[in-house]
């Protein structure tokens, strides 16, 4: 009973958050103001974090909040500031290929939805799933997935150097 309540609550929560996210996402790709777009993106990212919590992934959620909303968004805002003189709405943020964009996106969406429909039907999440501890994740990172981890650190290093070299004035 209680479990079902919880489930209900979960579903409600999911619905609200999902709706928010979708709306936010749409605004991100449609608004005429870069700064607003960034802020809407924050909404989406935060929603994603919330979804992670629903999906029993606290750690990822926290990381999401820290990395994205903490770091990436700041980056975006900085990028906006640095690349644009004035903040505010303006006309030519979009180009003229919405007539390509809509069909492509639509087609993709339809296809995927169909695939998912007959892929998973109404399969349910395991209700009594216990949380994944950080320890489990770290074991994986430093165990079987050590190699990709290194690859990743290389990538980050390269990114750091690249960013420095690119952004330096010379």
């Amino acid at each position: 009973m209680i479990a079902s309540d919880v489930l209900v609550a979960q579903n409600v929560g999911f619905a609200i958050i999902a709706a928010l996210m979708i709306f936010g996402a749409l605004r991100v790709v449609t608004t005429n103001n870069v700064v607003h777009a960034a802020l809407w993106l924050v909404v989406v990212l935060a929603g994603a974090a919330a979804q992670y919590i629903l999906l029993a992934a606290e750690f990822v959620a926290v990381t999401q909040v820290m990395v994205y909303i903490g770091a990436v968004m700041v980056l975006f805002l900085f990028g906006t500031m640095l690349t644009r003189a004035r903040i505010g709405a303006e006309k030519d943020l979009n180009n003229k290929n919405w007539y390509i964009g809509l069909p492509v996106a639509g087609l993709l969406l339809v296809t995927i939805l169909i695939a998912l429909k007959d892929g998973f039907g109404d399969e349910k999440m395991p209700a009594d799933a216990d949380l994944f501890t950080v320890a489990q994740v770290s074991d994986l990172i430093f165990g079987p997935y050590l190699l990709p981890f290194w690859a990743l650190s290389f990538l980050l290093l390269a990114a750091v150097i690249g960013a420095i070299v690119l952004a330096r004035r010379d």
Partner: protein, 787 residues
């Protein structure tokens, strides 16, 4: 004979202070070196007194040691093995194993010690006059003294590492001494070449030492309680039947390569003649009598290793003997075409070293060592005589054809000593050369190496011939050039002998020497005899060149063979009970049995079958029976050489005989041969022009290019790579160069085919659209297939 063994079992070998402390001998000049460096300039004689004093001290100690060694030998029974005097101190350690430094004194080391100390003394005395007033007089004596320290240290060396120490020190000193007048590029180049060539040979030394160490160490530690570096250990191990044939062969070959480099054997002999760029005393000491025999000494020192490794006696040809024989002939041939008197002597040195090597290769250990002994005296004498000529007669030129001739009237003493030494070198009876060289040839034949015996005889003929030529050009005929008192200046010195630039160097450095001398007196008057400081050493050496052969005058019967008795290690089995195994005690001195007892039977012959009760330190060596018939043959050959050469020289140089003069110009074949010789078989071309050049320039440049462009490129790629991408984007954005960009990407597009060309709108968004559109369609297809 075993009866003898029984009663001699209790004999105790005598020893003495000089023998026990022979390790001090190299330390004396080492200290003197430091003194010269620090205080030399302030001393009245500019530091030379330190050098000479130290040399005298070393000489005294060596002679003392020699005397006591003779006592030791005489005190021992006939055939008994004479225990060397070995002392070690811990020098360094590894894995708890102490590795020593110390002394290994036996007959061989005694002989070389005396020779080195003696000749060094004379040469230093000689130099006080010869380099008087030189700009770097003090440095010269410092290097000379350090050299003696190195050589003496190598001779007393107890183990291979210590030997390498001395070996490399000598290399360094010869670098400094050859380049003594380094203001002239030619000299410093010659110095570089000498050091570099010997260093190349030293690869063999390092490798060989390593190989032998690891092969022998366990056995030596177990049996003798010494490390695998120890000379004693290596000798015993080599004869113990332990070693795997590959290990010992590789080791022996590697070490012999080092010997080739140091002793100027073919094909690494090319540095020695160039080394004549150094001052004459240096040529006399380093490059004739002492340093260059280091290679020979190495082979003689651990002869058992080569004996087993090269399978001497066991086969009728081996590496050592072949190299030796080749060296004899090619060097002698080269001596014919030299116009520089020092180069003639240099090649003759190379050739004589070839004799020593051939002797060792044929198992004629004793004659070879004896030849080191005699050769040191007469070759040093010849060089000093040449120096005396250039010093006093030919105005610092060494060119026989230009600046000499008819000097016998002006400098009788130099002439006399020269003649004596020449006869000794040619091997004329009863001069010392005869007793050593002839013995080598004889024993080579006796040991069954018949072909090489004939090579030796051929060498004897050539030796006699080229020495006669040199003598004639120098002392007979009419005085020429500087000998005639005229002073030719630097320029025509450069001009002459265009085909052989090394002569140009020699003359050139003569001028450097002359600048160094400061006093220009020679220009004024003609040739004259040199001062006593030069002539007295000459006389002493000449006397020894005459008499030293009698130390081992085989022809006069066995009672004359003192050298054999004192020096040659006797191939007897020695029981190892005598040797204390208290090895590895850190620090303090470790005396291995100065008074080893002589036991075991004599009939067991080392080197033929493996010793059972004990170890062998030396193989039993064969000795040829002397026959006057054989001696007569070689003497006849020598005489023929002298006479023919004399006749030719007279015809060629004085009578200007039409048939002979310019023969090489007229006759193609001879001309070619002449050019071939003058260019030293083009080996230098191979080494310098091809190998060294290619490494020094293209290869290293190439490697460096890789470094800068590929490795560094990869590294910078992390940073500048993304930068270039950005730059590329920027360039393409930039309208001014848009055409070039169009062409560039146009090429890319053509690769894709001109149908898709319109798709290449260059708009990122469209690319994205295409990407995702394609993805969508692909997904659709999959979905349709799967459902």
């Amino acid at each position: 004979m075993s009866v003898v063994a029984a009663e001699t079992a209790e004999v105790v070998l005598s020893s003495g202070w000089f023998l026990e402390n022979a390790f001090i001998i190299p330390i004396i000049p080492a200290v003197a070196f430091a003194l010269i460096i620090f205080f030399g300039k302030r001393m009245p004689m500019k530091g030379s007194e330190f050098g000479i004093a130290s040399m005298v001290g070393a000489l005294v100690m060596s002679v003392g040691a020699g005397y006591q060694w003779i006592q030791r030998v005489n005190g021992a029974p006939e055939e008994a093995y004479i225990e060397p005097i070995i002392r070690t101190w811990t020098w360094w350690q590894n894995g708890g194993i102490p590795l020593g430094i110390g002394q290994h004194i036996d007959g061989l080391s005694i002989v070389i010690l005396i020779v080195v100390a003696f000749i060094s003394t004379l040469v230093q005395i000689y130099s006080t006059e010869y380099l008087h007033g030189d700009r770097r007089y003090t440095h010269f004596f410092a290097s000379l003294t350090l050299f003696s320290a190195g050589m003496l240290n190598m001779v007393v060396a107890e183990n291979m590492i210590q030997l390498i120490l001395g070996w490399e020190l000598m290399g360094l000193c010869s670098f400094m001494l050859i380049g003594h007048w380094w203001e002239d590029g030619a000299n410093s180049r010659a110095a570089l070449k000498a050091f570099f060539t010997t260093r190349t040979g030293d690869i063999g030394l390092l490798v060989g030492t390593s190989v032998l160490y690891f092969a022998a160490n366990d056995w030596t530690q177990k049996t003798l309680g010494v490390s695998g570096f120890s000379i004693r250990g290596l000798s015993a191990w080599a004869l113990s039947g332990e070693p795997s044939s590959t290990a010992i062969t590789v080791g022996a070959v590697a070490l012999f390569i080092a010997a080739i480099g140091k002793s100027g054997q073919f094909p690494l002999h090319t540095w020695l003649p160039d080394a004549m760029a150094g001052p004459t005393p240096v040529s006399s000491l380093l490059h004739s009598s002492t340093m260059v025999v280091a290679g020979v000494f190495l082979v003689a020192r651990i002869f058992p290793v080569f004996y087993e490794g090269m399978n001497i006696y066991g086969s009728n040809v081996n590496f050592i003997i072949v190299i030796g024989a080749i060296t004899i002939v090619i060097a002698a041939a080269l001596a014919f075409v030299q116009t520089d008197i020092k180069k003639v002597l240099a090649y003759s040195t190379v050739s004589q070293l070839g004799y020593m090597m051939m002797g060792l290769g044929a198992g004629a250990w004793l004659p070879a060592v004896f030849h080191i002994f005699t050769h040191a005296f007469f070759k040093a004498c010849l060089f000093l005589a040449a120096g005396s000529i250039s010093h006093s007669a030919s105005h610092h030129s060494f060119d026989m054809k230009k600046d000499m001739g008819g000097l016998r009237k002006f400098m009788p003493i130099t002439f006399g000593t020269w003649i004596v030494s020449t006869l000794a070198l040619a091997g004329v009876f009863p001069f010392s050369g005869f007793f050593s060289k002839d013995e080598i040839i004889d024993n080579v034949g006796y040991a069954g190496y018949t072909i090489f015996m004939w090579v030796g005889l051929l060498g004897a003929f050539m030796t006699a011939a080229y020495m006669t030529r040199a003598t004639y050009l120098t002392f007979f005929g009419a005085p020429r050039g500087a000998a005639a008192g005229e002073h030719h200046d630097e320029h025509d010195a450069h001009g002459h002998d265009a085909h052989d630039d090394h002569d140009a160097h020699a003359t050139h450095d003569a001028h450097a020497a002359h600048d160094a001398h400061g006093h220009d007196a020679h220009a004024s008057h003609g040739p004259r005899e040199s001062g006593p400081l030069i002539t007295i050493p000459l006389i002493i050496l000449a006397t020894l060149a005459m008499g030293s052969g009698l130390l081992n005058a085989v022809p006069f019967g066995s009672e004359w063979e003192n050298f054999k008795k004192w020096i040659e290690p006797r191939g007897q089995v020695v029981s190892v009970t005598g040797i204390d195994h208290s090895a590895g005690s850190h620090g303090e001195s470790r005396v291995i049995q100065p008074e080893a007892r002589v036991t075991a039977g004599y009939e067991s012959d080392c080197g033929k079958k493996t010793p059972t009760d004990g170890v062998c330190y030396a193989p039993q060596l064969k000795h040829a029976k002397f026959k006057w018939s054989k001696a007569a043959l070689s003497l006849a050959i020598v005489a023929a050489g002298i006479i023919i050469s004399w006749f030719v020289s007279v015809q060629l140089y004085t009578r200007r005989n039409k048939v002979l003069v310019g023969l090489t110009q007229r006759n193609k074949l001879l001309g070619a041969g002449y050019a071939f010789l003058v260019n030293k078989y083009y080996l230098d071309v191979l080494y310098e022009k091809i190998i060294v050049r290619s490494i020094a320039y293209p290869i290293s440049r190439g490697a460096y290019w890789i470094n800068q462009n590929i490795l560094d490129g990869i590294v910078n790629g992390a940073g500048t790579g993304s930068k270039t991408i950005a730059g590329w984007v920027y360039r393409n954005i930039d309208q001014r160069v848009v055409d070039g960009a169009v062409n560039k990407s146009g090429d890319a597009a053509q690769g894709a085919g001109s149908i898709v060309r319109p798709v290449q709108s260059g708009k990122v968004n469209q690319y994205g659209a295409l990407l995702f559109g394609a993805a969508a369609i692909g997904a659709l297809v999959l979905v349709i297939i799967n459902t």
